[in-house]
Symmetry: C2
Subunit: 341 residues, 2 copies
DNA sequence: GATGGAGTGGCAACCGATTGCGCTAGACCT
DNA sequence: AGGTCTAGCGCAATCGGTTGCCACTCCATC
């Protein structure tokens, strides 16, 4: 039985025409119940499944969503940003619940992904996931809009940006993190993380923390900010650099948990105690955040809800309903690295 | 330009027939270079992409692989086993390199996934990932073989098991872990992890560690083994139970890093020092393993290589070449929790 | 008995790309 | 000039399911 059953086989066994089989299995009211039941029984017996390619070709609809993952600019092969992995889990589940298949793919910013999915009818819509300066691919986003491709993007929502974007309130998260530190007596908060436009999300978190410290402008004290990509070793290096500068500070706000964890290692090596000597707060609440020593206080992004909203917002677009850009709240998770309790 | 370009559009513009367009774009030698270049130029200009559904339908080949993820039996929603997430990353990359799309899906053991992918021609083959007693789905595996579906499974390779399985040498890993502990002076090694057939992998790791301790049989000392599912809280509970038993031991071998990390927390709460009072070794080398305090010594499964082998082995089957069941080596990664150095 | 309407289901076109086969024109040979 | 060969390309069938339209049957109604 290496040969797959088709609707013709069923039709023959049931003594009806092939279109009747199709109608019966799709529940068309023009097929009598008696006939339908007979056809369904035969279909089950033959392990018949509708050929998705034939169906999609005819219907011009694939019931599939493509998830495009943009690699972090860091060239290391060690793995994927844990936060995005968690989100991936949520997106997968949501798609399954909604009856959609999920196609996933890792992309380089440079390739011509912007035409490769909906154009080749692999998917009805696209979810874009990944950090990165969206100016780098603004053109491609605009092309997507122009082509009327359905897509949603996770990330920093900027005025006048093409398409629908779902993101978290990075500014507010940064604000809350810094406020929390200050409420617990910290005066000088350093920021570890790229503050250029490379990671607009990081920039926003930084701006939030500056605001909490009373600085209206974007730059608080450049001596207390060290660039770091989103990786552990980058966090490690950044913390070392910061200490080497000799500028006094009593707290660190890291742009991501990954950076914070790298920094923790560096601090331990330098003999600094967390949170006694130095408080530290991260961002994301990745699974590892609760396992560090001390457990990391952080700003949680609700990946579960984020995944659902991304999928549902995309499905809305596919159904030609209007989907709006949304900002999800960020939530402070107090553990021990911040020194509150 | 909401309407997608088809090969007919190109044909008309190029003044040739539509089949010629298809041939030109596939590089058929029966089309002159001159014509081909002209067609290619027009195709690029129109943003033409071959319709994947039409192509798959005609070719009876999708150039897509389906990855089926079986949820851990633990009903918690917290997330996916980190080790499998890492593997997922590797599989994704490998598929991309080989020119295949990847369809992913979370499954319940109970559903009828076994007919849903290749039968509906969503994919040319299937990768099965996830722990679990394969006896629970042996019937389905046999059905897959009978249907001549192409598939590979990650996990415990057992004699006479249907299909191709790629796994890691769990027995040897357990052996190495226990030997390492004994070489550093530990005498009584407890095992945290389900030793029933529920996780055959865990069982094998346990058997390896028993062998290292001189026990030929499967059961070493039942008092030093505590069941635990693959989750942090299960590890936490198991460690507490173990201590409550009052049986002396000086080392723990945890069936997975996740369990080990949970156990670490319990030990710390009990005031036990690692590695001074108690050595501990995990399994998997998940990303978090290097970040615990103390950093966790563990047995590494090479997820990168595993992903590549899974994909390549599946592609072999798809090309009707023979693919063999393979066992990958497990490697001891010495950090600090074992007390060596 | 003719007409009408509802209930069923068949016919054939269609989605877009692929490919076996055959046709044509020019090159080349005798 | 007539014949053969080949490069280059078109014709039409095909993959399997979907759907608009039409045909047929059966029973009720006038």
């Amino acid at each position: 039985m290496a040969v797959k059953a088709t609707s013709f086989d069923i039709a023959q066994l049931a003594g009806v025409s092939q279109p009747t089989v199709s109608r019966a299995l799709r529940g068309s009211p023009t097929v009598s119940e008696h006939t339908r039941l007979r056809i369904e029984a035969i279909a089950k017996q033959l392990n018949y499944k509708v050929d998705k390619n034939a169906s999609s070709l005819r219907l011009q609809e694939t019931r599939t969503i493509a998830l495009l993952f943009f690699e972090d600019p860091t060239p290391d092969e060690t793995g994927i940003n844990p936060f995005f992995l968690s989100m991936l889990g949520s997106i997968t589940r949501t798609c399954a619940q909604r009856g959609y298949d999920l196609l996933i793919s890792f992309q380089q910013l440079s390739s011509d992904w912007h035409v490769d999915y909906e154009d080749s009818r692999k998917a009805d819509g696209i979810i874009l996931l990944g950090y990165g300066d969206y100016e780098l691919y603004r053109e491609k986003l605009e092309k997507l809009v122009e082509q009327e491709t359905h897509f949603v993007r996770w990330g920093f929502a900027q005025e006048g940006q093409p398409g629908t974007t779902i993101g978290c309130d990075n500014f507010r998260g940064g604000l809350d993190a810094a406020r929390h530190l200050m409420q617990h007596g910290r005066k000088k908060i350093a920021f570890l993380g790229d503050a250029s436009s490379h990671y607009p999300e990081f920039q926003d978190r930084y701006r939030g923390s500056c605001e909490a410290q009373g600085g209206e402008g974007i730059i608080a004290d450049p001596a207390l900010q060290v660039d770091a990509l989103n990786a552990q070793d980058a966090g490690y290096d950044a913390a070392q650099q910061l200490i080497a500068r000799g500028v006094p500070f009593d707290a660190i706000f890291a742009a991501s948990d990954t950076i914070a964890i790298g920094a923790l290692t560096a601090l331990r090596e330098q003999g600094l105690k967390v949170p006694e000597d130095l408080a530290i707060i991260g961002f994301d609440d990745i699974p590892a955040a609760g396992m560090t020593h001390p457990p990391l206080t952080t700003i949680q992004q609700d990946y579960k809800r984020a995944g659902e909203i991304l999928v549902d917002s995309l499905l809305k677009q596919i159904r030609n309903e209007h989907a709006t850009t949304a900002v999800l709240p960020a939530k402070l998770i107090v553990r021990q690295s911040c020194g509150a309790h």
